[in-house]
Amino acid sequence: MKQRSFGGLTATASSVVSPHWPTDLKSLGDTTFLPVGMSKSYGDVALSSGNRIISSLGLNRFLHWDAATGVLECEAGVLLSDIQSTFVGQGWLLPVTPGTSFITVGGAVANDVHGKDHHLSGTFGEHVLSLQLVRSTGEVLECSKTSNPDLFKATIGGLGLTGFITKVRLQLRAVSGPYFDTEVIPYENLGEFFSLSEATEAENWEASVSWFDCSTSKAGRGSFTRGNSSEQSDDGVKRGGLGVSVPFTPPISLVNKLTLDIFNSGYYLLQKRAAGKHLTHYRDFYYPLDGVGNWNRIYGPKGFYQYQSVIPMKDAQAATEEMLSVIKKSGQGSFLAVLKTFADREPAGLLSFARHGVTLALDFPNRGQKTEKLFAALDAIVFEAGGTLNPSKDARMSREMFQAGFPGIKEFAKYRDAGIVSDFSRRVID
């Protein structure tokens, strides 16, 4: 059965099964497999050519909820959007969420996802109290900081390679309501971005992110957004996204030099006009793109790549300036260039991507060799500065780059489930 990743990579799995009850997992290890959720990973961590795909989407029940402590136990196929909309009314939200809510809890654990709130809350894995793992041998293991702690740490950010996560116990975060007090601050160059980031961390803002222009002659300018959970609960605020969808895949990418310059200039002006303080619903704050269904289709049948790097703080500004100049020179700008800082925290998982430094995420239409050449140039800068790339976005980094960026991989081998293989693991690990 054909699989397609979010970025447009394809693979042919031998079969896809969708267990709906824990008892359906008994014959898990009959053939080599890969556990998969919503398949929103850009590259190949959720693809497994020639193997069985076991979907977690049928296991989507809440198992236990304690409204006093905010501890939720649920099956791995529950979507983050479900958690947010169910518990926000009771004053609880996920402490960490990435830019889309249409992913599963199992996927969020396996990729140890991060979001705008890294300073306050770190990564998703930091809020997992315990989880249940079914191994291909049929063994069922409860994992937490006290029970099977090493396997627990390997499973957080373990890209699904340590077993099938069946259920997860999560600590939610108490909030006053569904709104955020937000502030949008336009900036003219990367230097300003770095001082804004520093000030934002010093002032203990809960969440921050920034968009920047990397294609026009004024590249380097951008807009910085930060927010704190709000006491206000004005229900008259417009929200809920655009509610539109890209109905089909156009024959060619709609993202090219011309549309990029128009978009980047236009978006900058819009952001400039939006400068100042606002009251923003959590859906608009966390998930602006969830309102546009299938937005990845705009890149056409060849799909696109996301290049997400993290670079240690020390050389971050110089390296980011250099990457920006390489991108500008290549003429292959990015629609959604996102820049943010990660705080200095102990990583939750053995292979966690988020680490102290600056992360840059760029989307590029797949233009074959031209794009590969640009990536090679960017890789060199990232590697030189001691940085690495995000596996859940990656489709092409070299084995050397992965192994250097994730030194935990040697230790990880001890906890790997021999019955699980992904196209990503074949490419850079096995």
């Binding site: 709906h20 029940r61 236990h64």
Partner: protein, 242 residues
């Protein structure tokens, strides 16, 4: 409303319950074969919808006295809607090779549905109002080599529902036949092709029941598709591979 859902752990049933409960608070009676699955489904629903209530009852579809007993105890209080949702997607090849398997599938998909529907129809007739909704399938609209065991069970349900509709034609009891197209459920997990999203199917079903529609195709586009399929002359139909 007080809503009884038979085979409440099936994906379409759960999706309908989630749709109803997200619209407003109701009193749900969940009926099914497995206590473990019913309890797990009920716990999930209680967390999602704290304003609604969920009670669990066990039934054995092979036993008419079990079915009658459940109907009797549930109809002690007025019932607004009954949704009958049991079914199993028969593997036609297996059914052709094992008469035992064929018989047990027909018993679940046709006999148990008719018996359950009849028992609840009696209770609704006594109370004088309410909606009985039964899940059939687009597969019942025309027999096909690919799935005629399943399809014929669903065709029987259709005729049964038509009879009930005429019987209650001049009363306040309404009978509604639901015909989902292929939907992404455990029954179809190994099937290729485009499957409808159960949440979208449930939305159509719940709206149709509210409007007291006689036949609900879900998604609605299947009404037209099946009209065309039924009109294809047999001489052409027999050569088709679908």
């Amino acid at each position: 409303m007080r809503i009884v859902v038979v085979s409440a752990t099936s994906v379409i049933a759960v999706s309908c319950i989630r749709q109803w409960a997200s619209e407003s608070a109701h009193e749900f009676e969940l009926v099914g074969r497995s206590e473990e699955r019913l309890e797990s489904t009920a716990s999930d629903l209680r967390i999602r919808f704290p304003k609604s209530t969920f009670t669990v009852s066990l039934v054995d579809f092979d036993s008419t006295s079990s079915i009658a007993g459940v109907v009797k105890s549930l109809s002690a209080k007025p019932i607004d809607v009954v949704l009958v949702a049991q079914g199993s997607l028969t593997d036609q090849k297996k059914a052709s090779n094992s008469l035992e398997y064929l018989k047990s599938e027909l018993e679940l998909n046709a006999v148990s549905v008719a018996v359950t529907a009849e028992a609840f129809a009696g209770a609704l007739g006594v109370q004088g109002f309410g909606t009985l909704a039964v899940i059939g399938s687009v597969a019942g609209d025309r027999g096909r080599a690919y799935n005629y065991s399943y399809g014929s069970s669903k065709a029987m349900i259709e005729t049964y529902a038509q009879g009930l509709q005429q019987r209650f034609g001049s009363s306040k009891v309404s009978v509604c036949l639901i015909k989902p197209g292929p939907t992404a459920t455990p029954m179809t997990a190994t099937h290729e092709g485009k499957m409808a999203d159960p949440a979208a199917v449930a939305k159509t079903i719940v709206a149709g029941i509210k409007a007291r529609r006689r036949v609900i195709y879900a998604p609605g586009s299947w009404r037209l598709i099946m009209l065309v399929v039924r009109m294809i002359p047999f001489t052409v139909f027999k050569r088709l591979k679908f």
